[in-house]
Symmetry: C2
Subunit: 361 residues, 2 copies
Amino acid sequence: MPEGTPTIKDVAERAGVSVTTVTNVLYGRGSRFSEQTRERVLQAVEELGYRPNQIARSLVRRRSNTLGVVVEHFRGALMGNPYYSTLLDGILAEAVQSGYQLKIIALERPDPEHARLSAEDGSIDGAILAAPLYQSPLLQWVESCNIPRVVAGSSPQDLRAACVDVDDEGSVYAAVKWLIDLGHRRIAFIAGPTNYWSARQRERGYLRALHDAGITPTPHWIRRGDYSTLSGRQAMELLLQVRPAFSAVVSCNDWMALGALETLRRKGLLVPEDISVLGFDDVEAAAVASPPLTTIRQPVREIGITTARLLIQQIESGKPSTEHVIFPGELVQRDSVMPCSPEPPDRIKPRQRIRPRRRRC
Amino acid sequence: MPEGTPTIKDVAERAGVSVTTVTNVLYGRGSRFSEQTRERVLQAVEELGYRPNQIARSLVRRRSNTLGVVVEHFRGALMGNPYYSTLLDGILAEAVQSGYQLKIIALERPDPEHARLSAEDGSIDGAILAAPLYQSPLLQWVESCNIPRVVAGSSPQDLRAACVDVDDEGSVYAAVKWLIDLGHRRIAFIAGPTNYWSARQRERGYLRALHDAGITPTPHWIRRGDYSTLSGRQAMELLLQVRPAFSAVVSCNDWMALGALETLRRKGLLVPEDISVLGFDDVEAAAVASPPLTTIRQPVREIGITTARLLIQQIESGKPSTEHVIFPGELVQRDSVMPCSPEPPDRIKPRQRIRPRRRRC
DNA sequence: CTGAAAGCGCTTACAG
DNA sequence: CTGAAAGCGCTTACAG
């Protein structure tokens, strides 16, 4: 606050009452004051343009009414990653509705001590660890944290803290099983970076689904990208060299699937007639791709909302929780997947594009 | 802070020194203590797991080392709008680098008094008003604000506060002039919602460019959307009914341009052979659209960085500023624009797709 | 119905 | 080199 900002003392003096009385009327403590006093105080507040200093209030109440979102590995964390912004959106919506404000604690390094210093400093009532990387040191912090906290996004199953996430493995398992039911047997996989929990879990889902269907994948079936469109393009180029060819490819995220789509288009292959493509995330671009991408949507906003809700519950009840909330992924059927064609797509030949029915947009 | 959290007093007692001395060693006040004292204090800090309470510190120093980002009309502000997340990203990057943390102040209504209460409460050292709507009441607040502040995103030219923005009008003016230089004379416009400054400015740029080229647009040339893909689709359908047909269409943002692309594809028209399409923003989906969308990129992240920098300057110098920083837009040439074909595209006929050279991706 | 006083956990002159 | 004391702007028993 700049110098000269009116304080509660100024208000008290102007209204000719004590500061105790000012607090009482400001926060409406029952009938601890007369109507006349009330008016005098409110008038003084008005005339002075008084606004309570929340920092002072927080100090004595030991409550800041603020939630903290801690993100690690900040380089471009929010941008280029709609996951964070959507998550934040959900958290923010729930926080605002419950009367909390939000503080972003961006850590340059995933250092537990750094997190402790920034988060457990009285400025927030509880912390949300947003989408930690695989084996992040921050998970140790979160487990030994002295304030209410919950982890949003991929985290170990045995985490000793509350967390909210999508069922990465189960969703991919179900989707791959669906492809198999559509007749696909040769299903390639564009894997994601191994420092992401999500990438690891999704890969497990893929492998397990093949395994349960009695299909043995070989290393050639899997190409690893880094979640970028470019890496998806490159992975697809390599996969196209594998013989016999695949009838379907599952990508660990939409951006790589979009890159794969580009490669296929450039090579003159039709999607889904020649190859079915399945993504994950349902980013905005997926719906306007050509063809519109069939993908697995995770309810990121809902995850954010639930995360904030869980945190606020802990704060207001005073009871720590280690509840795990897992949302199912939702298969969004668009136009990039169709039943496996009996005709092997080994030979590349241009043909009339058949427009599949749009099922959802 | 939970009960029982060690305070500076506990550290002092354990180390057998005064609290003054503890502060001195913690914040390294020159040589106001012996090496031995220093070690004793640090050891006590370590043993107790002491972490300074920043709320108490903020109260006495009248500094929170926190920047506030105030956003109005919160419904889905961040999500569905990469502008906010990218802006936030830039702000965050600069803040972290300068040792500030970030607080998000989401206002349910654009009420100046509400803003004053939430922002001028001692919890932030300065405020960033992020992309206010056209004639937002928050602009009044920002002008009469008692703390350092800067507006990011579209705002009136005569704003009496610092602000950072892209040159919406000038960028569209230049791009439309470019289309005219490519031979286009009939250029339609998909306008944006009138409660956005950006939409209004871009429309002015379009009109002024036509005017300066001696072209008189009629109301039929302009269809208004709401920035969504769906509205772009609908606008394009209406525009296609106008005769004589257009050779180019400029969209007020990329999402509507993407919708327009869909409509054109469905109608069997080729882009850019039949109609050139130009977007604005360069969202991620623009690069992977088919064809990849030619668009005007605004340096949103840089705007965020500059905004934070301007704010921090004000905070640390103690001098308010009303500087306006305007970035030029950048034309990103992809594959959705080509010179106007001499052959009028009135009759729709399928033909071999000519792949234009890719100029940038 | 109202107010004096203690205290939240720090920092900062100031005196020694 | 070190510490007692005042104070940042509030809230909260507690006494009247």
